[in-house]
Assembly symmetry: D3
Homo-oligomer: 70 residues x 6
């Protein structure tokens, strides 16, 4: 019955979300012994002006490396 | 002073939200002995592409029964 | 499929929790059209030293009225 | 490594968010001994129809005092 | 920079948690393009008397199948 | 009416929590124009075996620098 909340920046594609939620679900089934039917994964997306790291908003940060989309 | 977070799919009407938050508040006052004035209920709505059950996003699920709007 | 998180002070009895989660579930079924089987309610309890209102921790507040156990 | 979630009504300006997340970060560094680089602050904004106090949605409340924008 | 919160019943072993958080991290790196160093996964464990499904607390539910430890 | 959740490792003293919640409250009043009386700050503490960074649980990490207690 676990419930997983992913907090991250907005901007992933539908295909990213499809693959991500499936992989997170597989991890829960394998390692937390969860039954898939009662397992929920939700994604909370934040605009860059609503997420700060080290006190600096995403909109004010220098560009991240290409592989990172927090 | 409790704080209640409702995670659910988007799509309820304003009237649904009005009745829902009032009923949740009544339940808290009756059974958790909360004072209404310090009791907050918030609704976090998710688009169907941000909520997966059993590893399948809402946008990819077969239609739910008419009574269910997760 | 909604997921409800109740943040409140620790201290309710098992019977309180039983009645509370049932009433919250009923409210969700009636007003948010949720199917009970996919509806989860969880309670996050906080010790009084981990909850502040108006900048004052619960352990430092004057006694609350008898009807309030936030 | 702390992670701070601010739940509040929508409507703050970018400048408010910039100053707020910086001040919250400073508070964490000073009083929780956090290293800034691993410290995240996120803001979850709610429309007034998704936040109820005392069982009354924000859209149904009388205007708040000028200094309050919950 | 994502932050993942896993809500589930208490009772997993340390080894389960070690494998689970590693697998969830791998899923985030692969499918959400996250940099591991800024990726946090936390586990919130609930006693069975604090989690209800279909309005019934975990302590009041009939035993789950052996493979399920929500 | 904001509600602030601080996710961090367990281990701060009562005096740390007292100073921290007061400073976070001050930041919210100053920069988010919140009224103190309706402002709540809660601390969710995690044992080191329930928090992973870069896929490594806190219990398995090398000692952090003295100034960091995530």
């Amino acid at each position: 019955m676990p419930f997983i909340v992913v907090h991250m920046w907005e901007g992933r594609t539908l295909e990213d979300k499809r693959a991500l939620t499936r992989a997170l679900t597989d991890a829960m089934v394998t390692h937390a012994h969860a039954l898939p039917d009662a397992l929920h994964v939700v994604i909370q997306e934040y605009p860059k002006e609503n997420w700060a790291r080290a006190g600096v908003l995403g909109v004010d940060q220098a560009a991240e490396p290409a592989t990172e989309q927090p």
